[in-house]
Amino acid sequence: MPLLSVDSLQVRYGAVEAVRGIDFEIHQGEIVTLLGANGAGKSSTLNALVGLVPVASGRVVFDGADVTDHAPERLAPMGMTLAPEGRRVFGTLTVEENLRMGAYGVSDRAELDKAWSRVYDLFPILLERRGQYAGTLSGGQQQMLAVGRALMSNPRLLLLDEPSLGLAPKIVEQIFELISVLRDQGVTLVVVEQNVAMALEIADRGYVMSGGRIVSSGTANDLSQAERLQAAYLGAD
């Protein structure tokens, strides 16, 4: 049984149809990437999965439970969470308070301790900066905080929306390394990315979206070959 299955999902903003009936499945332990140009419907898809935007029609099933149109606050405790586009850390809260909020729904003491040590092990810089306001961190550190905060709820499925956006190449590499490390720790990941080459390097599978539809899908290998082909024809780099 897939961990997440999405069945003819539609998202509308007024008259604008952002996602036009897409189907996909995510299996336990996978890294799946959603690719596509700006406005292809990738972020809308992720936001609809976690209830930040309403689902116009279709069905979202997570771990066997229908979570279509669940309020966002119900999903983190079930094990699915999103690190949103643009990081959106709480700038007026300290690093430690941000992480504490990430673990808001976790009441089990042992699980909480585990979450703190995992995040501080992955990001020693956050431990160093724990008393600092998140708004004063650099972009890369904020991205680490955004991912760390999402990890505090010990998710089984983590959705990452453009984790490399606006970051220096060296930091981008760190973020992608981190994604592989998380998979080895048993987290299933869906990554929305503009950085196609790097996304396909770490992903197992991918879906390509365009105009609100999934236009192609396959293993990362297949997609990167198709992409090279396309790049060759179009003269893009």
Binding site: T81, F90, E97, S153
Partner: protein
């Protein structure tokens, strides 16, 4: 000099009450963008509870917590009944709703209690006064200052150390992301209203202690002042609400004390003029909110 110190103590007492009220408005505004003009009616409710407790002969130590609890319960009910249905409406929709709630409550007070001002029995010690180093300070003023300080310390501890308080700050900054963390929208908003009810209740006790009476429109003036204080401090900013409350208190008391008698009838316009002047130099308020910024034109 003595007069100046004397008036400063009065200003602290009045400013503290404004600060508590402005904080109540700011807590709710920062989280849901609602300026709750029915905040004053929470004060009135607490005032009437004090009145009935006095009539029933209950001791002050019992009637004060009862009055404050009544205001908190009323605040939570207000949210549940009136504001939750319009939560996703525009700021204007919520503002008009709050006016409606205020008016409905005022009419209920007028029809079921009395349209006229009612006396509130207060313990005699409140009207005593101390002489400290040549200054005569009323017990009610000292109580107001001490209560304000205690409330500010409590609020600071709550907002910075309690999980629920931190969640309120998070929700004030980015509600959608706060919900992603598993922070329940209903819990945070109900909590904000309970907190604003607590602040209004304490402010009401202090307000009534100075006046020993309560009437259906009692809450209107102080809440209008608190609104001015909140704007002056920086709407949505908690530190700003405190700064604005005390600043307004000092402006009012000093003008009343030191303005020449022929200008006294212009006291309010002069006071508001000073507020406008301050806002000209600091359009986002004295301690602006980090989240909300006015566009400087």
């Amino acid at each position: 000099m003595d007069l100046f110190l004397q008036q400063s103590a009065n200003a602290l007492a009045l400013g503290g009450t404004y600060a508590l009220l402005a904080l109540g408005l700011a807590v709710v505004f920062s989280i849901m963008g609602l300026i709750n003009f029915a905040h004053g009616e929470l004060m009135t409710i607490a005032g009437y509870v004090l009145m009935y407790c006095g009539m029933a002969g209950l001791p002050f130590v019992v009637s004060v917590p009862l009055a404050i609890s009544a205001s908190m319960v009323a605040a939570v009910l207000m949210e549940r009944i009136a504001f939750r249905p319009v939560r996703n409406g525009s700021g204007a929709t919520m503002l008009i709703t709050s006016f409606a709630v205020a008016m409905i409550l005022q009419v209920l007070f007028q029809n079921f209690i009395s349209a006229r001002s009612q006396a509130v029995l207060l313990p005699a010690f409140l009207s005593d006064s101390f002489t400290i180093g040549g200054l005569v300070i009323g017990v009610n003023k000292i109580v107001a200052i001490v209560a304000t300080v205690i409330m500010l310390i409590f609020l600071d501890r709550f907002m910075n150390h309690q999980k629920t308080g931190i969640a309120m700050r998070a929700a004030a900054e980015d509600f959608a992301v706060a919900r992603l963390m598993g922070i329940r929208a209903n819990t945070v908003i109900a909590g904000a209203f309970a907190l604003s009810g607590l602040l209004a209740g304490v402010a009401a006790v202090l307000w009534v202690s100075q006046r020993a009476s309560v009437d259906p429109l009692m809450g209107f003036t102080p809440v209008l002042k608190a609104f001015i204080a909140a704007i002056l401090g920086g709407l949505g900013s908690l530190r700003g609400a405190v700064a604005g409350g005390f600043t307004l208190g000092f402006i009012e008391v000093y003008l009343a004390a030191f303005l020449p008698s022929e200008l006294q009838e212009f006291r309010d316009p002069i006071g508001l003029g000073i507020v406008v002047l301050l806002l000209l130099f600091r359009p986002n308020g004295l301690v602006p909110s980090n989240v909300l910024k006015a566009v400087k034109v």
